[in-house]
């Protein structure tokens, strides 16, 4: 069994925030977890590297005020799009 997308994303966030992964809830924002500004951009970068995906540029919103679930959803969307393009997943 490989970890779910959510488990993988939460593990990346936990590492950056230096917190126990069990404390991350889907409704937590990165800001709630103490991840702001450049650190939030770093989390995005770590997620992109891990899944080999590229998030579209943000639509005026801030990653640090998005919930962790919305990040997981964005990853899943990017993975689905990649699979649909026939590139397979990493």
């Amino acid at each position: 069994m490989t970890d779910t997308t959510q488990q993988q994303v939460f593990a990346i966030i936990a590492k950056q925030a230096k917190i126990d992964v069990a404390t991350i809830k889907p409704e937590s924002t990165l800001k709630d977890l103490g991840i702001e500004s450049l650190e939030a951009i770093e989390v995005i970068f770590d997620i992109e590297e891990h899944f080999n995906i590229t998030f579209p540029d943000q639509q005026g919103a801030n990653f640090d005020t998005d919930t962790t679930q919305s990040l997981v959803d964005a990853v899943q969307k990017a993975l689905d799009e990649k699979a649909a393009e026939g590139e397979g997943s990493k």
Partner: protein, 411 residues
């Protein structure tokens, strides 16, 4: 406050620019005054694989060979080409002849740049790491060094006073102009050639900006609620500064007086701006110029078009100007010439000089939806004819560095 001995007044007698609006300071000023934006599709060999799709670039009609001899040209990165061209224009306008009277010994050169010879750095890195070439071009070092622009201006005109580069990211030009002005004020030089230059739209730099996620994908909309970030630009603005007595003694045409300067650091965050630090720099510039808030008619804002800058700068202006903030015309010309980083304060000084000289404030282009957090008069979309007695020009840099100029109409 310590008293300052015999501080001399500083005036501007020449300006030159290479900008996304074209060649020449007047070209830039007329375009800004008319509200013409030079932001367009990114022209770059790697554009097809980049996420960033727009930029404000110097048009291809700029011909570096037009004013620079071949032997000099081979030594120049694009950054220095811009600076040397703009310097030639500024010096020609000033009417100064540096071959006379040992004037060169009393002339300083201070040029701001964020990163220096980025195009050369990028090209040579590609050659070494990408193409596995065993050799770098022998002129790599002299093209890359951040002081190259200042040095080439010095060499071209025999300017032998204090000459160096200043780097403070997006505030580099204003910091450089301030150093030049201070040297004239305190008698270290009678004349200074100063400003800022930047040409860093390389594949590597563009990828790095993408990763920071601060670039707009549509256009630059400062102070508009639908703003989506900054738009990268490039160019150079170079000015001739003189002590007022030196300019008056030779009957020079004075474009404006550089009356006061302010510099502070936020000392808070490496990227998030801080209203207190920015306001303190504005207040310092006003005090230094002997201006009360109500003497000022126009602020050329830093106005990058990022969420963080525009609301913070608005708060800072309110802190520094109090109730007079509501009577100010404030505009961000980055909406038209983009964010030229280390050159931005210099391109914006062209706008400020134009505003003081011609009694016309350039607009903030693309401001189509008011933001409750940005509640000043930003001169949306259409320039305004109005007398401008004094003006302030803001530059705030990553790293929390603030540099502000206060100017008065030519006496």
């Amino acid at each position: 406050m310590p008293t300052v001995p015999q501080m001399r007044r500083v005036v501007i007698t020449g300006m030159g620019a290479i900008s996304p609006l074209g060649v020449g300071a007047e070209t830039l000023w007329q375009g800004l005054r008319e509200g013409r934006s030079a932001i367009g599709p990114l022209r770059h060999p790697d554009a097809y694989r980049l996420r960033v799709k727009i930029a404000a670039q110097v048009p291809d009609s700029f011909d570096p060979t037009s004013n620079i001899d071949e032997r000099t040209l081979i030594m120049l990165d694009r950054t220095s080409e811009f600076a040397l061209h703009a310097a030639r224009e500024a010096i020609a306008q000033s009417g100064l002849d540096f071959s006379q009277d040992e004037l060169g010994v009393r002339t300083a050169v201070v040029v701001g740049t964020g990163v220096g010879g980025e195009n050369t750095q990028d090209e040579q890195s590609k050659r070494l790491y990408g193409d596995n070439s065993p050799r770098a071009h022998p002129l790599t070092i002299v093209r890359v060094m951040t002081n190259a622009s200042a040095s080439h201006i010095s060499i071209a005109y025999g300017l032998r006073g204090p000459t160096f580069a200043v780097a403070s990211a997006c505030a580099s030009a204003n910091h450089a102009i301030i150093q030049a002005a201070q040297m004239i004020r305190y008698g270290m030089a009678d004349v200074a050639v100063t400003g800022g230059t930047e040409a860093c739209l390389t594949y590597g730099a563009l990828r790095s900006w993408e990763a920071m996620r601060v670039l707009a994908d549509d256009t630059c909309r400062p102070f508009s609620i639908n703003r989506r970030g900054l738009v990268l630009g490039e160019g150079a603005g170079i000015f001739v500064l003189e002590s007022m007595e030196h300019a008056q003694a030779r009957g020079a045409v004075i474009l404006a007086e550089l009356a006061g300067v302010g510099m502070t650091a936020d000392a808070t965050d490496i990227v998030m701006p801080n209203a207190t630090g920015a306001a303190a720099a504005m207040t310092q510039a006003l005090n230094d110029a002997g201006l009360a808030p109500q003497d000022v008619d126009y602020i050329n804002a830093h106005g990058t078009g990022t969420q963080a800058n525009d609301s913070t700068e608005t708060r800072a202006i309110r802190l520094a100007f109090g109730s007079h903030a509501d009577r100010l015309a404030v505009s961000s010309t980055k909406s038209m010439h983009g964010h030229a980083l280390g050159a931005s304060g210099a391109l914006e000084l062209v706008a400020v000089i134009g505003a003081l000289r011609d009694g016309a404030v350039p607009p903030t282009a693309n401001l189509d939806k008011a933001d409750p957090a940005c509640d000043l008069d930003y001169v949306p979309n259409i320039g305004r004819e109005m007398p401008v007695r004094a003006a302030v020009s803001n530059s705030f840099a990553f790293g929390g560095l603030n540099a502000v100029l206060a100017l008065k109409r030519a006496p």
